[in-house]
Symmetry: none
Subunit: 129 residues, 4 copies
DNA sequence: GTGGTCTAGACCACT
DNA sequence: GTGGTCTAGACCACA
């Protein structure tokens, strides 16, 4: 379910955040679903519980999960995501960074957009409607 | 020419790398153009020379600039960019990460692609061909 | 009568304490009124009886309710509230905390006081005297 | 400068957050002032560096301080505070909680408001204009 | 059982 | 020197 890369430059807790968000985006996990407890996931991934905890706190700040006192942690309903404006601006920045890199790698505009469209297929599937 | 944000989470040397690459992508700087020396740029940006040096090393590693002994540093000809495969894979990874974030922010597939296209306008302009 | 938020950071038993105190402050419940038994309330709110029990213990400690052996639990007469001095000091502390936060949010002194006055309307109504 | 209460129910890192915000509200610390480094403050307060770090990260999220890579941490310019709406709602909630407690302690409306005004004197002083 | 807090001590990237 | 990340292991409040 989760695959961590020890050697990667992106910290472990961020990898957990990203992968959890990916699972939600793919509808593998949905509103109300229980996520593994901090201790469970930490032993599954063979990382320190604090690391998982940090990831969960970040996910909660982003409105992806919510914790019910003593009961555990669950996928949140996706209403208005917090800090939406700042996050959208950051998104555009990263988009530009990627476009620049794509051009440096010699991709043409059409090739790049085709690549984006292919990526989209995974995250926006018709069968969700 | 360069605008650094000390507050930003991205390290300064990386900001220099990105902005230099952006200038090249926009054709503001072209093959053979001389780039400022480490000392010049570091005093222009009021940053530590080591920081600029680190940025230049990274740019050279990416094939964006090249140093000619005793003559200075120049924008390189864009032939086959080094490490193309790894960089392309990384590009796709980041594309996916961004798509996931876009979906979490409530964007529809079409809105996201529209955003990408708009970003492209800046980097692939007709007048270059 | 009671509205609990499982998501909230404040523990459930504290929410019960606060809401019971709010009902008394609004004169919805008055001296001598019977409050639901621990079992009743716990099944009404769908929470663990221990949680309600803990709330009632706290309310009794604060002199809000009192238990009469075999007869049940009732709203207490509001005479001298216990631990008044400590609680008053704590009140002032929290007042200061809130004022600091208000200033950080950019409120002016007058705006803040106006906000306080509006809050007061709910709790000190003329019709009680 | 900072006074921590080991026994208090409020966690140490939160006490640090509150006291730093209080110093800023009182204009003891102003935009651009350097705050002690994590290590400095942790040894001053005899707490673990991680605890101070957690406090600083929370302060950064609230827009109170900002870190300049490798240079240290500084009081931020107070522009639009992040999450302003949510924080304002929380402020009103806490205001109500405090008003209820005040009434339970037997304060009259006027006494309560007088108390608030006195608290304000400390945080909104005329000499700031 | 759950998550939250704290300590001690280590390593790393950035400037 | 700065802050950021991670580990190991402890204690506590809540349900």
């Amino acid at each position: 379910m989760f695959r961590l890369q020890e050697r990667s430059a992106t910290p472990i807790y961020e990898q957990i955040v990203e992968q959890m968000k990916a699972l939600v985006a793919k509808n593998v996990m949905q509103s109300g679903d229980k996520v593994p407890s901090v201790r469970e996931l930490s032993s599954m991934l063979v990382v320190n519980p604090n690391t998982v905890s940090k990831a969960y706190q970040e996910l909660e700040r982003q409105g992806v999960i919510e914790t019910l006192r003593g009961k555990g942690t669950f996928i949140a309903e996706s209403v208005a995501p917090p800090m939406a404006e700042e996050r959208l601006m950051k998104l555009k920045d990263e988009m530009n960074r990627i476009a620049v890199e794509a051009k440096h790698l010699g991709l043409e505009r059409e090739e790049f957009i085709e690549m984006v469209k292919q990526a989209c297929e995974v995250w926006w599937r018709d069968d969700e409607s």
